[in-house]
Amino acid sequence: MINIILITGENDALSDFESGLRQDKEIKIERVNSCEKAFDLISEKNFDLAVADENIAGTPGLEFVEKLVSINPLINCAVISSLGAKDFHEASEGLGVLTQIPLRPDQKHAKILLQKLKAVLNLMM
């Protein structure tokens, strides 16, 4: 089983993306709407991937990832971001972000994300 935590506000824009993730029977998803709830849950359970929204109740997603990396670097991270590819690369350098996800991701993006995640997890075995 691959455990994913999705950290987002009340964001209906992610419903298609989330549905795409859930189509994979290996995937279990937990969704929280604040950084505090995410850190609480991450301290209790093991997650393979954290997907951070661009803005989480006022906290930039990349800021959340930076804090998460300092606490638990083993969790893979993906970030929803409106930045251009070059700007995102610069903003996320060193954080080891698995991939940038566009603002309105769909099932195709979910499939690509899972491919990338499984490639990394396979190398860790």
Binding site: P73, L74, N76, C77, E90, G94, G96, L98, V120, L123
Partner: protein, 130 residues
């Protein structure tokens, strides 16, 4: 350093007389230097694994599995640095010399500094300034 295993990201075949790689995630091999009572006891190498985007923890996992106690890098990103710390591997820093032997000798002699959290760089690796 009295005892332990030092890992050096290396280019080509590595080895004590070899050269360091600027980006540890992309290195060809890791050179291992086993130290006993403050002296080099054995030198070996292992192949690096494939590097994929976001795969910063792959080398962390690899080196932890080979019981590495110290790593010397030219630069490193925040996530892998935190990963190495979490698995108990001390990360040392030298961004000036490409040769493996002098930095190993300096680490054994206690002359290399451990990298600080505020010295992390981008791109999951950074480059040697050589």
């Amino acid at each position: 350093m009295e005892n332990g295993r030092i890992a050096i990201p290396s280019i080509g075949n590595g080895g004590l007389e070899g050269e360091r790689a600027g980006h540890f995630g992309h290195c060809d091999v890791f050179t291992f230097i086993d130290v006993e009572n403050g002296a080099i006891k054995e030198v070996s190498t292992i192949q690096n694994q494939e590097h994929v985007q976001g795969g910063c923890m792959v080398p962390v996992n690899l080196l932890a599995g080979h019981k590495v106690s110290a790593l010397i890098v030219g630069g490193i990103g925040m996530r892998p640095l935190m990963g190495f710390k979490q698995v108990g591997i001390n990360v040392y820093h030298d961004d000036q010399r490409i040769e493996i032997k002098p930095v190993v000798e300096d680490l054994i002699a206690g002359k290399l500094e451990m990298i600080e959290d505020n010295q992390v760089c981008g791109g999951g690796g950074g480059a040697l300034n050589m």
